[in-house]
């Protein structure tokens, strides 16, 4: 379900005034509706949960023309009630950020530079490497002669930064390939 500003307000029971107070930081009646209109009058509102620590603060994300224009604390959320720390408050700068990686990169053996590649090429080549390494290092039995059916030559770490659904299919994928060395942030 995608929440438009309108349906979001219905779902959440928030009032425009409530939003406006958190938008402009003060509650003078005349000013607040005007300020809220200025910034988000045509914006779509979706909700998200902060990607930093595990308190799970809810954040309103305003977007217009398909692009995020503002993020701020969600006043309806029981955990944070509109508050955010400096990291959560900077979510906009994480999303709208010129330093983000926007193309797959490849570094050949012994090369000194990255080179831009296409997704298809990168994924094809990775799949080839995985298959070669798996086929070469797959162990049907261990040193004691017990059946183990595992891929010895590939390891993986990650990731607590992924969504639950991604974590689930990632471990399914790795275990499908027979990996035993599967770890992530929780271990460190």
């Amino acid at each position: 379900m995608e929440l438009t500003r309108r349906t979001f307000l219905q779902v959440s029971g928030a009032t425009v005034a409530g939003l406006a107070i958190s938008s402009v930081g003060f509650g003078l009646n005349g000013t607040r509706a005007y300020a809220a209109e200025l910034r988000t009058s045509k914006a779509k509102v979706t909700t998200t949960i902060c990607p930093y620590c595990a308190v799970g603060c809810s954040i309103l994300v305003h977007s217009a023309g398909g692009k995020i224009i503002n993020t701020e604390g969600d006043p309806d959320a029981p955990i944070n009630r509109g508050s955010l720390c400096s990291k959560g408050a900077s979510l906009y700068h994480l999303a709208i950020n010129d330093d983000r990686l926007t193309k797959p990169l490849y570094r050949a053996p012994n090369a000194k530079e990255w080179k831009e590649v296409t997704w298809d090429w990168a994924l094809d080549e990775i799949a080839k490497r995985v298959k070669e390494s798996r086929d070469r290092t797959f162990a049907v039995k261990n040193a004691l002669g017990q059946v183990v059916n595992r891929t010895e030559g590939i390891a993986s770490v990650g990731s607590a930064a992924m969504d639950n659904e991604e974590c689930y299919i990632y471990q399914k994928f790795l275990r499908g390939l027979g990996l035993a060395y599967i770890e992530h942030q929780a271990r460190i």
Partner: protein, 800 residues
């Protein structure tokens, strides 16, 4: 967390130890402050006077690595002054159980120790049982072999003077903490603990937490509002990624990874299904086979049949007893064991202990796939400090993933609430959701194995993978539904199960994670719920998102009532028996109160049905004992003859990679204790904050914090460039001289401690400094293998 964030407001005494919550989980303080407004006492124990300390009613300091003496002394204080909750201990814990007469503790070692293997035979760590096999109890708690009497004997050595000699805590401060916290043993009072990496990142990390859990049980603080044992987890979805078991030793829902000694599903299920002869025990893990078979059905779908053991043989198996965890991976990598490596949404070149070892290990790989939002020290390791790209043969693929607001899905917070996130914009540039990359890779590999064959293709070809919507796009909802589980046969075939009580061991149901069963049902996506009402009066907010298990917001909640089901704390009832059914939170099993027929004990996940003050499961022993950090400033452990944890793995000094794992204790070259820590404005290795202009402006570079006394001793001024060195590496950083650190008096000797943030790396920003993990040792907790980043030895010198 056994409880959740909002519940902190219900607490009468809050202990923050092993965490700097005000700095690192700032919004938690909304609820800490609410509790304080009601008159709650905030206690903070930390080596350094932190932002949390500044808010505390009582602050006490301790030397890093001495938490068990500090807390062990509290156990002695509780027992000596009879401050424990006798009702709770006798009825809801194993405090009354009689222990095997052959169980012994002598000078730091429990019965059964094998010094060669650095491991225990735990057979004497057991209970005395009656003729029916039920543990014998002495509810008067007076039998010399009862858990409580053994506990008394064990902690008799942890007297105030001895504790203070080890911890360096002021005696009066220590007593103030003990006195304030133990008031929560009174009926109707609650105390909670908020801890984080300050407890886990030690060679005795698990036992640090266990010591506190035992205190909570003695005081009757588990299962109640404002109580519990609350780990403040550090990553937005580290709870979920742990629940889904991106870890070597477990598979989704905390089931065990199969090992080579268990060739069939029957043997596997038998090995991990606990049994009990106590008719009062619910023994919930008795349902193990329902969850394991449903997981196999989720993995292999219709290809998993009774005849083929539901595909059990397709799962990889570990060698029994072997460790495949983080530190082992990089140790093996440095010896050339791996050809390929995925670093997916992580930055191990800065986040793991002993970064020099990690970074060099990456150069031994044939190929590396690095998935991230930004460039990082892992993907670009080959051009990092001291690296010669022309000599490094590792191929690197750097794949750009999108950020959280560019995709849809759920994450689970520390309080176990699974909350849904929506997509606000298309992924920037060619960046993509992680899930789509995983899907694309799997599809390619499946096609290759189908057409070309290869090593044991069966698990790949039989893996069930149908997560697409009507347009053929990967659907997060479809994945969430598989995680929840559905009926695979029968009249309800295809329908989603309501919760895990519907799962079966005959192949008629699937569930990708039994704990999440109930999160996405025929009634819809429970994680997307946004009803913020609170009918409970104690902030459960049961209609907001969804919480595992079965939307139970406070776990072990049947321990919050008396034998008739009436709340022990009438002002903050979690559950209450109204004569016909339970009201309030979802109870831990719907059985009637303990005074009635057909009841079950409240700690349903333990075969004993009660919580364990005597805990026979951990590597070091049933009662936590003090051992010094691997690198420490004292030659002798004042409590026993074992200086370090007798069960930790010591990485080899021989062979390739030798010299990387050097440890120095009481070496004049490294005289100061060091701890790594964090600031609000940065997060983990800084990957998601160092590239964020707003945050990097607030905290542009690494610092090392030291006391005025140490600064004077070393001729260092505030703002000086300094070099910190450990036996493994060094970093250049800026000195911040404060009165927040003070020298400790440890057994008559002056001991200094310093601390440094670990959010930086050479990639960006310029002059920000490199990772503090260049200093930390490759050594882990004996149970979890979490590295000891909170206590190691360094030197500090002014640069130039």
């Amino acid at each position: 967390m056994t409880n959740h964030w909002v519940d902190l407001r219900n607490s009468d005494v809050i202990l923050i130890m092993g965490s700097n919550a005000a700095e690192n989980h700032p919004i938690s303080f909304k609820w800490v402050s609410k509790a304080m407004d009601r008159g709650a006492t905030l206690i903070n124990v930390d080596p350094r006077f932190t932002k949390t300390s500044s808010k505390a009613d009582i602050y006490a300091r301790l030397r890093s690595g001495s938490d068990i003496p500090f807390l062990g002394g509290m156990i002695k204080y509780i027992l000596d002054n009879k401050l424990y909750n006798e009702f709770y201990v006798a009825n809801y814990t194993n405090g009354a159980f009689l222990v095997n007469k052959d169980f012994k503790f002598t000078d730091g070692l429990f019965s059964g120790y094998d010094p060669e293997k650095r491991k225990y035979d735990k057979s004497t760590w057991s209970y005395q049982v009656d003729e029916n096999g039920v543990p014998i109890r002495d509810k008067s708690l007076s039998d010399p072999n009862s858990v409580i009497q053994l506990l008394k004997k064990h902690y008799a050595r942890y007297d105030i003077d001895t504790v203070c000699k080890i911890t360096g805590t002021d005696k009066q401060d220590l007593l103030n903490v003990y006195k304030a916290y133990t008031t929560t043993g009174a009926k109707g009072k609650s105390g909670t603990i908020m801890y984080a990496m300050g407890w886990t990142q030690h060679t005795v990390g698990t036992q640090n937490i266990r010591t506190m859990a035992m205190i909570q049980l003695l005081l009757g603080n588990i299962g109640i509002a404002g109580g519990g044992v609350n780990a403040l987890r550090g990553e937005s979805n580290v709870q979920g990624s742990t629940d889904h078991c991106l870890l070597f030793h477990i598979i989704p829902g905390y089931l065990k990874t199969p090992n080579a000694t268990l060739p069939t599903l029957a043997e596997y299920n038998k090995a991990y299904t606990p049994t009990t002869k106590d008719p009062l025990s619910a023994n919930w893990w008795g349902n193990y086979a329902k969850y394991s078979v449903s997981l196999l059905k989720a993995f292999y779908g219709d290809n998993a049949t009774k005849e083929n053991d539901f595909g059990y043989g397709w799962l990889p198996r570990l060698d029994a007893g072997a460790n495949y965890s983080w530190l082992t991976i990089f140790d093996e990598m440095s010896k050339g064991k791996f050809e390929g490596f995925f670093s997916w949404g992580q930055n191990p070149a800065c986040s793991g202990a002993n970064s020099n070892k990690t970074r060099n290990a990456l150069g031994k790989l044939k190929w590396l796939v690095n998935v991230n939002i930004f460039d990082n020290e892992t993907g670009s390791f080959w051009k990092g400090p001291g690296m010669k790209p022309e000599e490094i043969g590792t191929e690197v693929f750097m794949l750009p993933c999108c950020v959280s607001v560019e995709k849809e899905g759920s994450i689970t917070n520390s309080g176990r609430w699974g909350q849904w996130r929506y997509k606000a914009q298309e992924p920037m540039g060619e960046s993509r959701p992680d899930g789509e990359m995983i899907d694309d890779l799997f599809k390619r590999l499946k096609a290759m194995y189908k057409s070309e064959g290869g090593a044991f293709p069966d698990p790949i070809l039989n893996l069930s993978w149908d997560f697409y919507d009507e347009k053929g796009h990967l659907s997060t909802h479809k994945i969430a539904q598989e995680i929840n589980g559905r009926y695979m046969s029968g009249p309800d075939k295809g329908k989603l199960v309501a919760n895990f009580t519907k799962l079966a061991d005959d192949g008629s149901t699937c569930s990708g994670n039994w704990l999440y069963s109930g999160s996405y049902t025929e009634d819809g996506n429970m994680m997307a719920r946004r009803n913020n009402e609170d009918k409970s009066g104690i902030g459960l907010h049961s209609g907001w998102s969804w919480c595992w298990p079965v939307n139970r917001r406070i776990i072990y909640n049947r321990a919050s009532v008396d034998l008739d089901g009436m709340p022990l704390d009438k002002e903050h009832p979690v559950v209450k028996w109204n004569g016909a059914k339970w009201e309030g939170d979802v109870p831990d099993g719907g059985w009637k109160p303990m005074s009635q027929e057909g009841t079950r004990l409240p700690f349903i996940m333990k075969p004993e049905g009660v919580a364990r003050i005597f805990g026979p499961g951990l590597a070091e022993g049933p009662f936590p004992e003090h051992y010094e950090p691997l690198e420490c400033p004292v030659e002798k452990n004042l409590l026993n003859s074992q200086r370090i944890n007798p069960t930790i793995k010591l990485f080899s000094e021989k062979g390739e990679g030798a010299g990387k794992d050097v440890y120095m204790t009481c070496d004049p070259k490294y005289p100061f204790i060091c701890s790594t820590y964090r600031v609000t404005e940065h997060w983990q290795t800084g990957l998601m904050t160092r590239w964020n202009k707003q945050l990097i402006e607030l905290q542009p570079q690494n610092i090392v914090e030291l006391s005025k006394e140490l600064a004077k001793l070393k001729g260092i001024n505030n703002g000086d460039k300094v070099i910190i060195k450990s036996a493994r590496g060094q970093i250049e950083t800026v000195a911040m001289v404060t009165s927040r650190f003070k020298p400790f008096k440890i057994n008559g000797q002056t001991v200094h401690q310093v601390g440094t943030t670990w959010h930086y790396g050479w990639c960006t920003p310029e002059d920000g400094g490199d990772s503090a993990n260049l200093l930390t040792p490759t050594v882990g907790d004996a149970n979890t293998m979490i590295p000891e980043s909170k206590a190691f030895m360094v030197n500090i010198e002014r640069k130039g």
